[in-house]
Amino acid sequence: MEIKEYIKSGIIESYVLGLASAEEAADLEIMMQKHAEVKQAVDAFAEALEQNILRETVTPPAEIKQKIISALFTAEQVKTPSSTTATYTLSTQETPVVKLNFWKYAAAACVVLFLISAAFNYYFYNSYQSANGKYQALLTERTSMQASINVMQTHLEEMTTGMHIMNNTETRKIKMSGTPGHETSFATVYWDTQSRNVYVMADKLPKAPEGKQYQLWAIVNGKPVDAGMVSDCTGNFCKMKNIPEAQAFAITLEKQGGSVAPSLDQMYTMGNV
C-alpha cells in the first residue's frame, strides 16, 4: 500500500524531470533498487515523456551538427569501431563550444608558429655554424700571419742593424776564406774597432751535421780565444763576443755547445785582420 501511495505522490515525475531535491532523489534511487514497481513507474513515465517529446520536434539548423562534430572530433582522437581495447582518456572539462574553437585555432596557430620558429632556428644555426667556422679559420690565419710578420720584423731589424754596422766607418771587414779542403766555404767578420764588438756573416758554410756547431775563434798573439757559437743566432748576421784584440779570425766545426780549444783539423775558414 505504502509503495502505491509513494508512486502516486508525484515524486516519480519530480525525479524524472529533474525537479526532485538531492535528498528525494537519493531516497527514490534506494526505493528503485528495493521495489521493482518503483523502477517500473520511473521507466514508464520516462518513456512516455520521451515518446511525447519525440513526437513533435523542431529541427535545429543544419550547420549545428557540423559545428559540434568539428568541435568534438578535430581536437579529440577519433576511435574506430575495431579498436576496442585501447584506453581512452576523456576530457571532462566543460568548455563552451565557442571557447573550444578559440583554443583549437590558438593551438593550431601555436603549432604553425613553432614550426616557423624551428625552421628559422635551423637556418640561423647553420648560418652560425658556417660563420663560426670561417671566423675560426680567419683567426688561425691571422695568428700565423702575425707570426710571419714577427719573423720578418726580426729579420728586418737584424738586417738594419747589420747594415748600420757594415756602413760604419769604424767597422773593419775581415774576409775569412775557405781552408784547403773547404774551398767553397766563406764567412765575413765585422769588427767594430770602437766598441770591439764582433759580428759574423756565415751563410756560405755547409750545413752543420747533427750534434755539431760552428765556433768562431779570435787569434790573439797566436792563441785561439773563443768568440762564440756561430749557429746560436737565428739569422745570418750574428753578434759574437766582444774581442778587444786579435790578429786573425777562424771558424771550426765543434761539438754542440763549443770547445775550450779549437779542433784545428776541423777548421773551415780563416782570415787575417
Binding site: E13, S14, M32, A46, I53, L54, P60, V78, L90, V97
Partner: protein, 179 residues
C-alpha cells in the same frame, strides 16, 4: 529515404561509452530535434538556443561515462543536461544582456522573428493545458529553474503548499503525457 540502422538504447549507450564516432551521428539524428525543442521551451532566442544545443551535445559526449543506466533512461539523462544548460544560459550575464537588447529592438520593430512559438509543441503544449495554479508552478520550477523556496517567496504561498501543489501538477502532467 536511406535505411537508417536502428540501435537499441543499450547498444547506443555502449557505443557512446566507447566514444565511437558513428554513435555520435546516430545520437544526433535521433535526439537533436527533441533536445532542441526542450531548449527552445526555455531559451526562446534561436541563436542562443543553437549555442546551448552545441554545448549540450558536447557535454553528452564528454560526460557519457557519468551516465548510470540503473538510474534511468538515456533520454532522461540528456533531457536533464539540456534543461540545466538552458537554465544556466537563462541565468548567465550574456543572456540578460541579449534579452535587454531584444526588448529594445522589439519595442522599435515589434518583431519576434527569431523566436519560435513554443507553446504549440512539446512539454509546453502539455503544460499549457494545465490549470492556471499548476501552470505557474511548472513554469517557474521547470522552465525557469527556481527552487520551491524561491517560488514560495515569489508567490507568497507557504512552502508546503508549493510542494503539494507542484506534486499534484506533476501527477496531472503524467496523465497528459501518457495520452
Amino acid at each position: 529515404m536511406p535505411e537508417i540502422k536502428k540501435y537499441s538504447e543499450a547498444q547506443l549507450v555502449q557505443m557512446l561509452k566507447q566514444h565511437l564516432q558513428p554513435a555520435f551521428g546516430y545520437l544526433y539524428e535521433s535526439y537533436s530535434g527533441a533536445l532542441y525543442t526542450v531548449i527552445l521551451s526555455i531559451i526562446t532566442d534561436k541563436e542562443l538556443a543553437n549555442d546551448v544545443l552545441q554545448e549540450v551535445f558536447v557535454k553528452i559526449w564528454r560526460q557519457i561515462d557519468t551516465y548510470d543506466e540503473s538510474k534511468g533512461r538515456l533520454f532522461t539523462w540528456m533531457l536533464n543536461i539540456a534543461r540545466n544548460a538552458s537554465i544556466d544560459m537563462l541565468r548567465s550575464k550574456g543572456f540578460q544582456n541579449s534579452r535587454q537588447n531584444r526588448e529594445l529592438t522589439e519595442t522599435v520593430y515589434e518583431s519576434g522573428s527569431t523566436q519560435v512559438n513554443i507553446d504549440k509543441i512539446g512539454l509546453r503544449k502539455i503544460v499549457h493545458t494545465l490549470k492556471e495554479e499548476y501552470k505557474v508552478l511548472v513554469e517557474l520550477s521547470y522552465f525557469q529553474g527556481f527552487t520551491q523556496e524561491e517560488i514560495s517567496k515569489m508567490l507568497n504561498i507557504p512552502l508546503g503548499t508549493v510542494k503539494t501543489r507542484l506534486r499534484n501538477a506533476l501527477v496531472q502532467l503524467r496523465e497528459l503525457v501518457k495520452s
